[in-house]
Symmetry: C2
Subunit: 205 residues, 2 copies
DNA sequence: TAGATTGTTAATCGATTAACAATC
DNA sequence: TAGATTGTTAATCGATTAACAATC
């Protein structure tokens, strides 16, 4: 597992910046200032400058940042300038939705297939991509050099599925279940618990 | 918008605790200690104790917390002990998936319907729930006393949809798009950007 | 009783924010 | 030049962690 060169909050904010900067690029703007980005997102300019600094970008005082350079700097920092072969494990509602989610495909995530234990789902063509049985996972993933497994099974099945993913040699699991997975040290798990977001909104209502 | 009585990181962790405590309850265990929860989640016991304290629960030294009391305390703190009538706005892949997501329905979120501009989607029966046109939103939401709108439209349509949601009188928007919504002060927006999670895993690989 | 666990008070750590010189 | 913006260094703020007395 790599040691990130920036704090997790900073990394989380970078995609929002990138989205705004790409819009500026589409609008033909050659430069953009941290102040502009901050206003758009309701953040402090100093925070945007500090965040952008982690990508190695150098701005021009009084002018701002070169839009094309900045897009490249962020994409490169996030490794979004190269494709990441990925699979979905668990082709239920959420798995199928993520399979067609444009926010991922726009940023290098290349979902090659889904895997499921339910024989009824097999052979389906979900968003133009195949659904295979769990037995086919190992050979497929080694052949396609899969880097990321997106885990969308019910929580009761999550640990067993994770064990399988580890066995296959995949080193990164994006865990959409609400349990903590037990995996070897060299495997990265990023937990994305939608009920955490629901908890926030429930308290704020 | 309510001022939460706990930090956002604390609130985010509570659902994971609740899940473990409910499992203990199902297993018939009368008490559970912060140490047990911490071990399960790979956290520090002191953090779990501090987090649980915000719910007002009182534990017993040497014993731990009464499981039933603790479940009630967390559910009550998160307002998960009452139903929250909700709607999905944008019945695309993600919207449909969230409509059937059990992690929400298990915790009081009661999704009553979805709304979409695409006439092809209307009348569909998605997970046993109806899909209506945007025009029907206002009367439906006022009648059903909708509290939360889950926004799953493409980002280009997000601000217009949010304006509509505000107009209807809904005070909480769960925003799954990657733009910042401009809404009146009394409307709460919780942004849930899946590309932020993808950024983390991309950097950690 | 001895030992484990709670809850409180204090210390540490890291992220955010402020101040300001440098620069175009 | 004057003024806006960057990048650096320092200060603040808040969350996490540590220490420890209280308790069953």
């Amino acid at each position: 597992m790599n040691q990130p060169k920036a704090s997790l909050p900073t990394i989380r904010r970078l995609p929002s910046y990138l989205h705004i900067i790409r819009q500026a690029h589409n609008a033909g703007e050659p430069v953009i200032s941290a102040t502009t980005i901050a206003n758009e997102l309701d953040l402090e300019p100093i925070q945007v400058r500090k965040d952008l600094a982690v990508t190695g970008i150098i701005g021009k005082p009084r002018v701002g940042y070169n839009v094309e350079e900045l897009i490249q700097a962020i994409e490169s920092f996030l490794h979004w300038d190269a494709p990441h072969p990925s699979i979905i494990v668990g082709a239920g509602n959420l798995g199928q939705a993520l399979m067609g989610y444009q926010g991922f495909s726009d940023n290098g995530m290349d979902i090659k297939a889904a895997f499921d234990i339910n024989p009824e789902k097999l052979g389906d063509n979900c968003h133009g991509k195949p659904v295979f049985s769990m037995e086919e996972m190992e050979s497929f993933c080694r052949r396609e050099k899969i880097e990321i497994a997106v885990l969308c099974v019910p929580w009761e099945a999550a640990q067993a599925a994770a064990d399988r993913i580890v066995q296959v040699g995949i080193k990164a699991i994006w865990n959409f279940t609400n349990i903590r997975l037990k995996v070897p040290e060299d495997v990265t798990v990023q937990k994305e618990d939608l009920t955490s977001g629901y908890a926030i909104i429930s308290v704020l209502i």
